[in-house]
């Protein structure tokens, strides 16, 4: 790959009428990096992530994801990314294996590959017994792990996770992060938004968004030093309060 960055964003802006949801943000994310995208509710995280995934048209600025311009080549971007949103992306009225089969097919995987990957995935998640269970009948933590695995089924370069661990216990969250580390080790770039500051510590670098702008960007340790804080919580509160 000629480019050292997975994601390159310059002055990306999104306006809804007179309201600026995302205000000239700029950053880069390296290949294989776990990049935490933090901010209070309404700070513009979801809007930013939606623009990067080709779901929302930017008002201005420039963004390249997986080497493709999100303005001009949104469909090429989509081929190379995975996406998991806070709303559940799996079909509640399909079984575990049907969901895997469907998404594999949509991304153009061969049937043989889908079946092979299904087995690997069920083995890894310890979900073999639940293969024919409807998604609506399995616990939330399993759904999230499965949704993540389905999002990277087609081996994307980058995966976008929009508050992936909302509403589950710390142990399940920890297990979820094990999956993220494993994917990152395999070279997948992770772009993750979260509300949990302990999760922020797991990231290689984080950015903190306040009112549509990125107010701080760097490794967690560096940010703590810069803002003279004990933990990320304190950094976050200092920034958010202005």
């Amino acid at each position: 790959m000629e480019n050292e960055f997975s994601i390159e964003v310059r002055d990306l802006t999104k306006m809804f009428g007179g309201f600026t949801a995302v205000d000239h943000i700029s950053f880069e994310v390296r290949h294989g990096e776990i990049f935490g995208f933090l901010g209070a509710n309404g700070a513009g995280k979801t809007t930013a992530i939606r623009m990067l995934c080709g779901l929302s048209l930017p008002t201005s600025g420039k963004a390249e994801v997986a080497g493709y311009d999100v303005f001009r080549k949104p469909e090429m971007v989509k081929r190379n990314i995975g996406y998991m949103s806070q709303k559940f992306s799996l079909y509640q009225d399909l079984t575990v294996s049907e969901n895997i089969y469907f998404y594999g097919g949509i991304y153009g995987l061969k049937r043989k590959v889908i079946f092979q990957k299904t087995e690997e995935l069920l083995e890894k998640l310890d979900l073999k017994h639940a293969r024919n269970t409807l998604i609506r009948d399995i616990p939330l933590g399993w759904k999230q792990k499965l949704a993540f695995s389905v999002a990277i089924l087609h081996d994307p370069q980058i995966v976008f996770l929009d508050e992936p661990t909302g509403g589950v216990d710390p142990i399940t969250r920890r297990q979820f992060w094990d999956l993220i580390y494993e994917a990152a080790k395999a070279g997948v770039t992770i772009f993750v938004t979260t509300h949990y500051m302990d999760e922020a510590e797991y990231c290689n670098r984080i950015s903190i968004m306040v009112d549509g702008r990125i107010e701080a960007l760097g490794p967690p340790a560096e940010l703590k030093t810069r803002f003279q804080s004990q933990d990320m919580d304190e950094v976050f509160v200092k920034l958010a309060r202005g």
């Binding site: 048209l57 949104p74 009225d93 399909l94 097919g105 949509i106």
Partner: protein
Amino acid sequence: MRTIYFILFKEFRQIFRNKAMLPIIFVMPVIQLIILAYAADFEVKNLKLFWIDKDQSQLSRQLLSKFEGSPYFRLTQADMSREAAETAMERDEVDVVLEVPAGFERDFLAEKKTQIQLTANAIDGVKGGFASAYGQAVIRDFYGDFLEENAARLSWQPPSGGTINIASANWYNPEMDYKTYMVPGVLALLVTMIGAFLSSMNIVREKELGTIEQLNVTPLKKTHFIAGKLIPFWAIAIFELAFGLVIAKILYDIPMLGNLFLLFGLSAVYLLVVLGLGLFISTVTETQQQAMFISWFILVIFIFLSGLFTAIENMPPWAQQLTYINPIRYFIEILRSLLLKGSGWAELQQQFYILLGYAVLINGLAIWRYRKRS
């Protein structure tokens, strides 16, 4: 194209896993065909007759028995008082009042002018018109019989065969069975509702659940998505039409004179219009309630302007003009004339081209409106 297969796989699994779906597919047509075909029967029968006989003669009783012998009238009350008859009519207890004056027989036999008064309740204008026309026909019949029986003693001879007799023949529906006429229309309604409601609700449901976002972030082409969404409901509606035809044949023995392949071919094109409409509605709404409301709003107008319940010829001119933009109108024409008259391609190609144009227009509009990116 392969991706369409995967969408079809998903849709069919979801549709048949939905417990409400099988009753909709199998119970709805039976109920609609049974209830609507009977309820929408406009044939006027059993008109309630109030009989005032101030003559109480043999001749007046002959007239009464003529009315009783007619399938259109049923004697419900008899009284000598005009007031009682008017009260009964005001209470909607009777449809027709027939009053025979005193001296009717005497004057009639003396070949003097005599009058019978027939009063019809015209709250329902159509029914009132029929009541008066049927009543006159019975009286004319009575008079004809009288002339025949009493030819010998009359002072004059009625011109032989001179009275004009209008014998009507009802083509394409010889028994004048209203159900034969209604059932094809009810079938049209059925597939229209299945097509428009199910397709619009289905896509909006994905919007509500948020799963559409997950699809929009995949490289799935929007034409593939739309094809994958429409094909299942297209197939279900075609099946529904076949199922409805079988039910109609069993229950009503409706004629099927035309080519059924042509029927299904034309229906397939019509369904593209209906599904396209459902799809378009789903692109402009955000919730299932909105989609339901708008579909219902549009369908009610289309149904009333379709010629199903009210003959288009009876509509005011401006409403007749409006029916030309109504796809249901053309489909009902197709079903009725193909099934009942045996019309073929030559007679129906105009409807075909109109529906085809409609299908291209509405689906084009829907595809244009469907956005993967906001």
